[in-house]
């Protein structure tokens, strides 16, 4: 299964209270600000030790009785199959090391990105101190002289309460990207 978040239960559950909604949205805005300003180490500090950063591959699948997407996930590769990202903390630390190496040509000069996060819907997490959060993103990337990439998709996060300035760490992020063939020469940015 590509994601632990059940669309039906999100839709049928009441909206989160306004203070929590505000807090989570502000967390995302600040997280986006870090990414867009290439503050790699500060962003990395938001990943909890058990982080699972995962982007399955999206496929073109025929609908059968209207099913292919959220209902049976036939569109997505499963956890035993290939993925765009399937990273734990150590693998993410390696990616950070790459970015800080001065030789990371795909991000040196760095991409200019704009992470826009919206449609934030919060439900209770499985653990006591966690939230399941479903959101939409559009990431614009402009690179070097004229390269432009546009990525859109859905993020299914588990946020865990943390004793840091932003109040949360990311325990899990499933990125459901809205492209089957990735329309870019690489995915050297984070979502």
């Amino acid at each position: 299964m590509a994601s632990h978040i059940d669309i039906d239960s999100i839709v049928s559950n009441p909206a989160a209270d306004i203070a929590l909604q505000h807090e989570v949205e502000q967390f995302y805005y600040r997280e986006a600000l870090l990414l867009d300003n290439i503050k790699y180490e500060d962003w990395f500090a938001l990943l909890d030790d058990d982080i699972h950063y995962y982007m399955p591959i999206r496929r073109n699948a025929m609908q059968r009785q209207g099913r292919a997407r959220s209902s049976d996930l036939a569109e997505y590769t499963n956890q035993h199959e290939f993925a765009h990202f399937d990273e734990d903390k150590a693998a993410m630390a390696g990616r950070l090391k790459k970015l800080l190496s001065d030789f990371s040509w795909s991000e040196n000069p760095a991409s200019r990105t704009r992470h826009t996060v919206s449609n934030v819907m919060i439900s209770k997490g499985e653990e006591e101190n966690t939230l399941n959060v479903c959101s939409s993103f559009i990431v614009y990337r402009n690179r070097l002289e004229t390269q432009v990439d546009l990525f859109a998709g859905e993020r299914h996060d588990v946020l865990r309460r943390a004793d840091n300035k932003l109040g949360f760490k990311i325990a899990s992020r499933v990125i459901l990207i809205d492209q089957s063939t990735i329309l870019s020469n690489n995915i050297s940015i984070f979502f």
Partner: protein
């Protein structure tokens, strides 16, 4: 240019022959950026060569199919009732609509979504709606099935070729088979594909990708992948502490443009890419020893490391890393990469999982190695927009004249690991495909 691209082409054979010099190691950059040459390539290279479409394990059961491409032609690869394979153009002969539009699946028939012309899984037209009323029995359905390609396999890999006159796949692979076997013949169980094909677009000419996997160990340890290597270093080890190997070879196929290169005994680069678990599996495990027995030597089974390889034109893979991909051309300035991962079918589950994870981490659209390959090729392609830059003479001279055919351990034409002999072989074969119309002169 005329439709066939052969009778009155924009490029004469004499002009094309001046673009590549195997003897002097010089390339004309127009081979990477000229639209008219590309149109000829589709006709003379892609419609005549064996193109990798997938792995047997992608389509194990009757009716299993995969939608893929030969060049820019969409084709359907289908498993038949008798377990054989068919490849046919994904195009209805009525108005040209696609017959199948999902990436893969299982089909009992392929029915055009336009007017409903129905085809069985072998690609034969079997039913035309209102045939009696509309055609009054004048339609001979046997004349109107989509074009079939030849299909053949080598150690689980499925290739197809439009050209009835082309040599068999076995002949086509020429003397490169022992080097392919290092990845695909390690165990009696063979290999299997991990599910999922990753696809992405690289705005660069297909030959950059094909050549790099054929012949270019040079970029890995010099500049391109330093940050990728850094990403896999254990804590406390710095880039400056890493010894980049120098001991190894390159092989250039005697025919066909195929090539490979590898380090010997020095696991540094492989370990930086795949980590200790896979490095041990490949070099020092019960399975590695079985591979040595099957491949006839410890050299082939356990000591050839961080290997790169291309089967001309667009099938590339990295033994020991186990990514394999087809570089589907999309004009002179763009590739679609279709990549998947293979593992020994009898590898322990934790090894299969480790191959999966390390490939995602390193050799994929987001991989810490592959990210930077895309960067180089794309920038080169942009430079070619320049009037001078697009026809620059490029240097392809490394290792010129150094290869020999009497190496005690490695059959075929062998040179040093930092070398461009295999690349010269690839471009020389490209030149022959582009300028020799008949297999009478071209054949192995």
């Amino acid at each position: 240019m005329n439709a066939e691209g052969t009778n009155n082409p924009a490029w004469s054979n004499e002009e094309i022959k001046k673009l590549v010099s195997d003897e002097n190691g010089i390339l004309d950059a127009r081979i990477y950026n000229d639209q008219a040459l590309y149109e000829l390539e589709l006709e003379r290279v892609f419609a005549r060569s064996w193109i990798l479409l997938g792995h047997e394990s992608h389509i194990p059961n009757t009716g299993d199919f995969l939608n893929t491409y030969i060049g820019e032609d969409p084709v359907i690869l289908v498993r038949q009732k008798d377990a054989s394979l068919r490849v046919f153009l994904n195009q209805c002969r009525h108005r040209g609509m696609k017959l199948s539009r999902d990436d893969a699946g299982n089909a009992k028939a392929f029915v055009c979504s336009y007017h409903g012309w129905a085809h069985d899984i072998s690609g034969k037209l079997v039913d035309v709606p209102f045939e009696k009323q509309g055609h009054c029995n004048r339609l001979d359905k046997s004349e109107w099935s989509p074009l079939q390609a030849r299909v053949d396999t080598y150690r689980g890999l499925i290739f197809a070729n439009w050209d009835k006159e082309a040599p068999s796949l076995d002949e086509y692979l020429s003397d490169s088979k022992p080097y392919i076997d290092i990845m695909f013949n390690r165990s009696a169980a063979g290999t299997e594909a991990i599910g999922g094909i990753q696809k992405w677009v690289v705005p660069a000419n297909w030959k950059f990708a094909a050549e790099q996997f054929c012949s270019d160990m040079y970029h890995a340890g010099t500049m391109s992948h330093l940050s990728g290597i850094a990403a896999g270093l254990p804590d406390g080890v710095e880039l400056k502490d890493v010894d980049i190997p120098t001991n190894g070879n390159q092989f250039r196929a005697k025919w066909g443009g195929h090539g490979t290169g590898y380090y010997i005994d020095e696991p540094g680069l492989l370990s930086a890419i795949m980590g200790p678990v896979i490095t041990e599996y490949v070099t020092d495990s019960p399975q590695a020893r079985i591979a040595s027995e099957r491949l006839g030597s410890e050299m082939f089974g356990q000591r050839v490391l961080a290997q790169h390889m291309t089967i001309f034109p667009t099938c590339s893979f990295l033994p020991g890393i186990n990514t394999i991909r087809t570089w589907h051309p999309r004009g002179p300035n763009e590739i679609e990469v279709w990549a998947f991962i293979v593992v020994d079918a009898d590898a322990p589950d934790h090894i299969k999982e480790e191959f999966r994870k390390q490939n995602i981490r390193t050799f994929s659209a987001g991989g810490v190695f592959e990210q930077d390959d895309g960067e180089n090729w794309v920038e080169i392609q942009k430079v070619f927009k320049g009037n001078k830059a697009r026809k620059t003479k490029l240097n392809l001279q490394m290792g010129l004249g150094d290869s020999r055919t009497d190496h005690p351990d490695f059959p075929g034409r062998i040179g040093g690991v930092y070398n461009e002999d295999a690349a010269r072989g690839l471009y020389q074969h490209w030149l022959r495909m582009m300028t020799e119309p008949s297999w009478d002169t071209l054949k192995p």
